[in-house]
Symmetry: C2
DNA sequence: CTGAAAGCGCTAACAT
DNA sequence: ATGTTAGCGCTTTCAG
C-alpha cells in the first residue's frame, strides 16, 4: 500500500538546482523560459514521472476547466450523439467533461445540479427530466455567474440560452405528411406536455389538422412516460378506439417501435391499417419492419452548437446574454411505415 | 462578470468569532464539536451559500474520492446498464464518477487513461477497445497503487482483476441450441479475436460443433468491426456461400439485427432458411421480427460487482490482490429467430 | 471542546 | 531569463 511519493515541481527544481517558478513556467510552456532549461525540465519531469496536481492548480486559479452535462437519459442514439458532439468541441478546447444523468427524475436532476455546482464546473449543459417542476436548482449557477445552456428539453421563459429544433414545425410536417397519405384519424402519442418538446410537437400536430379542416379530437391524444410498459398501454388504448385510428404520430422512435410491435401482434397492418411516424431517427428506425418514418433530429449538431457557444462565452469571445434561442436544422424522413400510396 | 466572492470557512469563522479549525471540524460533522456550535455553523454556512472547495480539500487529503470509468462505447443497452450498476454502487459509497469512452480506438483509450491518471482517480474500471494492442497505458496506475478492475473486454493474463461472464459456455450454449434445432452449417459472425470475449465465444462455438460431430469449417467464420456497414458486408458474404448456411451465431444484437434485415431483404426466411442467435439481450431483440434469440448478459450486475469490489478494496475491506476473476451469471434466451421446430 | 499554525502543490506579482 | 514569496482553502497535529 505504500504509494510512491508524488513528484512535485519542488523535486524537479532542486534536482536541477533552479527555482520552482522556472519549473512552473516551463511546464506551461511559457515562452519566457529559455529553450535549453525548458528541455532539461521536460526531460526530467518525464523521467521522474511527474504529473500536474490539478487540485493545487485549480485552487490557485479558481477555475476548473471542466464543464458539466446533465442529460435525462443515456439510453438513446439521440443523447449519445449529443454527448459525442459536446465531447468533440470541449476536448478540442481543452475542457474536461463530467456527465450526469437524471433518469427522468426531478430529485436526481436536483442532486446532479447540486453536485456539479459544488464541483465548480465552469459551465453547464443540460436537458430537463420529464418530471422537472421548476428551474430553482439552476439558480445557484446564475448567482455565481456560471453559464448554463439548455438543449432539447428546455424552459424557454426567462433568459436562458437554449439549443433546440423547431418542434412546432416538425410536429406539423409529420402530421401533414400523414394527412397527405389520406389519414384522417391521427393519434398523437407523446409525453408530459409541460416539456417544451412535447407541447410544441403537439401544437404543430393540431395546426396541421386545423389547416386541413380536420377537427382536433382530444380522445386521440395519448400521454405516457416513454417506457416500454407505457408504450404498450398506449397502443392498447389506441386499439380499443372505435373507429380505429388510421395513423399515429409518436414522439419518440423507441415508443414507436414498441407500438408497431404491439399493433402487429394484434394483426394490424402497417401502414395499410395504421400509418406511423416516429421522432429522432434512431438506428432502430431501419431495423423494424416496416422501416419507420421519423423526424431527423441531429444530436451531434445540437451537442456541438451548445458546447461551442458555451466555450466561446467562457473565453469571452461570444456572449450568451443576448443569445436566447438557437435552432438546429431538422427534417422529415419518409420510410415505409407511413407510405400508404 | 463580477463573480460574487466565494464564501470560505474563514468567512464563517470570523462571522461567528470562532476558529477556522472548529468550522472545518463542524462541516465534516466531527463529533468532537459541540452540538450548539455545530448548529450555528451549519445554519450560517447555508445562509451564506458556502460550498466546500474540493480542490483545497483534495490537495490537503491527497485523494479525490473519484473513480474513473473507461468504456469502449456508450451506444448499447449493455454498456448503459453497466454504467447504471457502477453508478448505483459508487453513489451510495460517496464516490464520484468520471466516464470516458474510447470509441473503440486504441489511441483514444490511451488518452483517456492518461487523462484519468492525471486527474488522480482513486480507482479505475475499464473495458478494452477493439483495437487495443497492449495494456501499457494502465501501468502507471499500477505503479501508483491505484486499483484497476476490467470488465467485459479484458486481458486475463497478468494479475488484473476482471469481471466477466463465461463467454466460452455462452458460445457453446448458443451453438448447441442451434444444432439441436437441426442446423449443421452454422456461421459465426464475430469481431477481433484478440479480445477475450470474442475468442472465448468462438472457442465455445467450436467445442459445441466438435461435441456434435460437426467439422469446423473456417469459411463459416466471419470477422467484422461491429459497425452497420461491416454487418451488411458480413451478411452479403454469408449470402454468397454455397451451400447457404442454415444458422448464424452473431456476437452482438445490433449486428444480428442488421444481419436479419439484410437477409430478409434478400428473401431469406428466418428461422426457416437461416436461424439466428445474437448476444447481449438488448432492447432491440424484441423489436425486430422475428424476435431475436440471444444470450442474456446482465450489465447491471457486472457494473455493481465491479464497483463494489473496487470500493471495498479502497476502503480496505476486501482485497483485489488475490481476486483474479469474477464470473457473472448469464443465460441463453430462446425466441423465434432460432426456433425451427 | 476549541484555537494556532503548518503545509498540501501550484501560480503570479514583484524583484533581480 | 530566473528567483522569491505570498497565498489559494482546507485538514490536522499539537497545545490548551
Amino acid at each position: 500500500m505504500s504509494k510512491k511519493k508524488e513528484v512535485t515541481i519542488y523535486d524537479i527544481a532542486s534536482a536541477l538546482n533552479i527555482s520552482i517558478a522556472t519549473v512552473s513556467r516551463a511546464l506551461k510552456n511559457d515562452p519566457v523560459v529559455s529553450k535549453r532549461t525548458k528541455k532539461k525540465i521536460f526531460d526530467l519531469a518525464e523521467k521522474m514521472g511527474y504529473r500536474t496536481n490539478h487540485f493545487a492548480r485549480n485552487l490557485r486559479n479558481q477555475k476548473t476547466n471542466t464543464i458539466g452535462v446533465i442529460v435525462h437519459e443515456l439510453n438513446s442514439n439521440f443523447i449519445t450523439s449529443v454527448l459525442a458532439g459536446i465531447e468533440k468541441v470541449t476536448a478540442e478546447a481543452g475542457y474536461d467533461l463530467i456527465i450526469a444523468h437524471s433518469s427522468e427524475s426531478f430529485s436526481k436532476e436536483i442532486a446532479n445540479a447540486k453536485n456539479l455546482f459544488h464541483k465548480r464546473v465552469d459551465g453547464l449543459i443540460a436537458s430537463l427530466s420529464l418530471e422537472t417542476k421548476n428551474l430553482d436548482h439552476f439558480k445557484s449557477f446564475e448567482e455565481k455567474n456560471v453559464p448554463v445552456i439548455f438543449f432539447d428539453r428546455v424552459e424557454q421563459e426567462g433568459n436562458n440560452t437554449v439549443v433546440v429544433i423547431d418542434n412546432d414545425k416538425c410536429g406539423y410536417q409529420a402530421t401533414q405528411h400523414l394527412i397527405q397519405q389520406g389519414c384522417k384519424r391521427i393519434v398523437h402519442i407523446t409525453s408530459n406536455l409541460k416539456r417544451n418538446v412535447y407541447s410544441k410537437r403537439f401544437k404543430g400536430y393540431k395546426e396541421a389538422l386545423a389547416d386541413n379542416g380536420i377537427p382536433y379530437d382530444e380522445k386521440l391524444l395519448i400521454i405516457n412516460d416513454l417506457s416500454e410498459r407505457a408504450a404498450i398501454e398506449s397502443t392498447m388504448k389506441m386499439l380499443k378506439m372505435n373507429p380505429l385510428p388510421d395513423a399515429a404520430f409518436i414522439t419518440n422512435d423507441f415508443v414507436a417501435a414498441i407500438c408497431m410491435r404491439t399493433l402487429k401482434e394484434n394483426n394490424i397492418k402497417i401502414p395499410e391499417d395504421i400509418a406511423i411516424v416516429g421522432f429522432n431517427n434512431d438506428a432502430i428506425c431501419t431495423l423494424v419492419e416496416p422501416a419507420l418514418s421519423t423526424i431527423n433530429y441531429p444530436g451531434i449538431d445540437v451537442g456541438e452548437v451548445a458546447a461551442s457557444n458555451l466555450i466561446n462565452h467562457l473565453k469571452g469571445i461570444g456572449n450568451l446574454q443576448n443569445t436566447n434561442t438557437i435552432i438546429i436544422r431538422s427534417n422529415l424522413i419518409i420510410r415505409k411505415s407511413s407510405l400508404k400510396k
